[in-house]
């Protein structure tokens, strides 16, 4: 029973980090039709900024989370306003541009913070374990699960229960019609991109509690995000959450029970979904 409970929680916490990474990217692809390959690099940049604030300056961890999120958001804004908005509907150019930013951001991080990896760090108040009905489980991982749940609820509320969300959903389906109704989709796109980048940076510092920070995270987390989106479906917060938790739990149990297949557990899920339901578990069709 303890083995099952431990791995379930391991899977949920790992899955929540994957959701934090993928949610922003899913929104950008769904709303703006842009495959922002620099999303993982924004995650990494936010994590490095958070490390600097929390470990180098010794400030409050949650202030570091906010700092990392804001820094990534501003970089995302710079990418969108300075470059991407000029490449409307030019998908190939968008992909190349954002992939170029992966290398730019990665090398900036390497230049500023060096090649030595930063070990996982967290709020000192979260050291130790919670006693969950006799099961001792690290506080950091429980907090990651809680943060993921709160973010998922917030994004669902924003998407489904607010006017802004309605505009975003309408824009996903028919951007031209929404524009014709007098809504400035350019401003909406800018805000969405900032929000997605903000979430990426936020995820970076929150995820650093488990993963630490290192210079190849940009590409590694991008790969994770794309897998989640493929499994969960594009443009769907519920899909991203479902996909992330599914992969997280399968990965955890897979590694524990079949460690020889550790390299493949994520990809097996993705392949099955692509065969059975190519649009993803809860995907929306992008116009």
């Amino acid at each position: 029973m303890e083995f099952f409970a431990t791995n379930l929680l391991n899977g949920l916490s790992f899955g929540m980090v994957l959701f934090l990474i993928a949610s922003g990217l899913s929104i950008i692809i769904g709303v703006m039709g842009i495959i922002n390959l620099s999303h993982g690099a924004l995650y990494m940049f936010g994590a490095y900024v958070g490390w600097t604030v929390a470990k180098q300056y010794g400030l409050n961890f949650w202030f570091a989370v906010l700092s990392g999120a804001l820094a990534a958001g501003l970089v995302g804004l710079f990418i969108e306003r300075g470059f991407l908005r000029r490449l409307y509907k030019q998908m190939n150019e968008q992909v190349l541009l954002t992939f170029g930013f992966v290398y730019i951001i990665t090398n900036i991080c390497l230049w500023v913070w060096g090649g030595v990896a930063k070990v996982p760090f967290w709020d000192p108040a979260l050291s130790g374990s919670f006693d969950l009905a006799g099961l001792l489980y690290p506080k950091t991982r429980i907090i990651v699960i809680c943060i993921g749940v709160v973010l998922a609820v917030f994004l669902w509320w924003l998407q489904d229960k607010t006017r802004v969300g309605a505009i975003v959903r309408a824009g996903m389906d028919d951007k031209e019609m929404v524009t014709a109704l007098g809504i400035n989709m350019g401003r909406v796109s800018m805000l969405i991109f900032f929000l997605a980048a903000f979430i990426a940076g936020f995820a970076g510092v929150v995820g650093a509690q488990l993963w630490g920070v290192y210079t190849y995270q940009g590409l590694q987390t991008l790969l994770f995000a794309l897998i989640i989106i493929i499994v969960g479906g594009i443009g769907s917060i519920q899909g991203a959450l479902t996909g992330a938790l599914l992969i997280g739990v399968i990965d955890a149990f897979g590694k524990a029970l079949f460690p020889d297949l550790a390299m493949f557990t994520m990809y097996i899920v993705m392949i099955v979904i692509l065969i059975v339901k190519p649009s993803g578990l809860l995907g929306r069709k992008v116009q």
């Binding site: 090649g115 210079t215 190849y216 955890a252 390299m263």
Partner: protein, 409 residues
């Protein structure tokens, strides 16, 4: 409207640049990969030495540290060997076998290099072996090597020993000194990882021990908790032998181990090649690593005149205690001594004759390369201790020149 948008862009750029500059002012910038040009002493043709270091990819934290060691050696040599200026050309092998081969070819064919320090990883060493053997380019590993390049080719120096040879005494120690009889292992799933673990297992089993659980984790695994959840307890395995290829993998693994140990009585960890950790990483992992036993190729606290001089010089230059920087420093110094013997002749025949079957005294201890290039050196068993504010491995046992690989003739 356009002005507002332009202003938004300008403000964003300024904020980002300002943020980066302020962070950069506080963070230490890594060494950049450039050719280290000596102060010219004569008009003689420079001796060119290549150095393959990983500055990008999963093991990017290692490259800058190796460069520190080489730079210190060059400084102490006054950038001169055998009366000729020496030039070290650094190339980024990118944590990739393919890139290592490309960079090796570039060093030899474009830069005219005949001796190379690196690459680090066993798969990179195996990848460059056929080319180096064909072109008679001598190259040396930074931290051990897989058996293949030594056994099957003739230009590779396995410093300070092969992976298997290096860890064989670890298996002896665990059986004879710690009294363990059963072992669980967790290793990085690549050539070097398999051979480090294989060496520890070889030594353990040849003394009578048994391996009860074996796990391989992909390099860069973000989460080790599932592996730890399935790890046998102390009732089933006396010791958990761990080798992971980078400090960040090892850090995540040990943190996951500590979390799981809070719930279940896991066996104690014995870490192979504890040198993957930097002094800062030791500090960040203090609660987990202090008291842990480990194998190390180099112990900075080892009291020896050659080592003491090296540590003092390194601390004076970089303000920190050296760890794996020693390996690159030693490789450079050994090459320098060989070139002094050959009078600056860096041809394969002259250098191989000068490097093999000869005793070198290094900060790590005595070093000798056999005719095949296999390194024979000391292996140290250490315990991680906190001494005067620093957390470092302290030697508890030395196996002298005991790194013979049973698979190398």
């Amino acid at each position: 409207m356009k002005n507002k948008k332009f202003l938004l862009i300008v403000v964003s750029v300024i904020l980002v640049v300002g943020l980066l500059l302020s962070l950069g002012a506080c963070a230490k910038a890594p060494a950049t990969p450039t050719a280290t040009t000596p102060a010219p002493t004569t008009s003689a043709k420079p001796i060119k030495i290549g150095a393959l270091i990983d500055l990008t990819g999963p093991i990017a934290d290692m490259g800058p540290r190796f460069k520190e060691g080489i730079d210190l050696a060059l400084e102490q040599l006054n950038y001169t060997i055998a009366g000729r200026p020496v030039e070290v050309i650094f190339e980024d092998s990118g944590s990739s076998p393919t890139t290592a081969v490309e960079r090796m070819k570039k060093l030899h064919e474009s830069d005219g290099v005949k001796v190379v320090i690196g690459p680090l990883m066993g798969d990179q060493q195996s990848a460059v072996a056929p080319y180096a053997d064909q072109q008679k380019v001598i190259y040396v590993g930074y931290i051990n090597s897989t058996t293949g390049p030594v056994a099957d080719y003739g230009t590779f120096l396995a410093y300070p020993a092969t992976c298997v040879g290096q860890q064989r005494p670890s298996g002896w120690y665990l059986y004879e000194d710690k009294g363990y009889r059963t072992m669980a292992t967790l290793g990085s799933d690549y050539g070097g990882g398999h051979e480090y673990i294989a060496g520890a297992i070889y030594g353990f089993e040849e003394r009578g021990g048994t391996v009860v659980h074996k796990v391989w984790a992909p390099i860069g695994s973000p989460d080790f908790s599932p592996y730890m959840a399935a790890m046998p307890t102390k009732a089933e395995a006396d010791v958990l032998v761990v080798f992971l290829s980078s400090g960040e993998d090892a850090a995540r693994c040990l943190l996951a181990y500590a979390n799981e140990k809070a719930k279940r009585d896991l066996p104690p960890v014995f870490e192979l090649i504890v040198d993957v950790f930097t002094p800062q990483q030791y500090k960040d992992l203090e609660s987990v690593v202090v008291g842990m036993y480990a194998q190390s190729t180099y112990l900075p606290l080892r009291d020896d005149p050659v080592n003491n001089a090296f540590v003092a010089a390194f601390k004076a230059k970089y303000g920190q205690t050296p760890v794996i920087q020693q390996n690159a420093y030693t490789n450079m110094m050994v090459y320098a001594q060989a070139l002094e013997i050959t009078g600056g002749d860096d041809s394969y025949e002259a250098m191989w004759n000068a490097l093999t079957n000869r005793d070198f005294q290094t900060p790590q201890g005595p070093l000798r390369y056999s005719s095949t290039g296999e390194g024979l050196s000391n292996t140290y068993i250490a315990q991680i201790q906190k001494i005067g504010g620093e957390i470092l491995p302290v030697v508890v046992k030395t196996y002298e020149l005991a790194t013979k690989d049973p698979y190398v003739p």
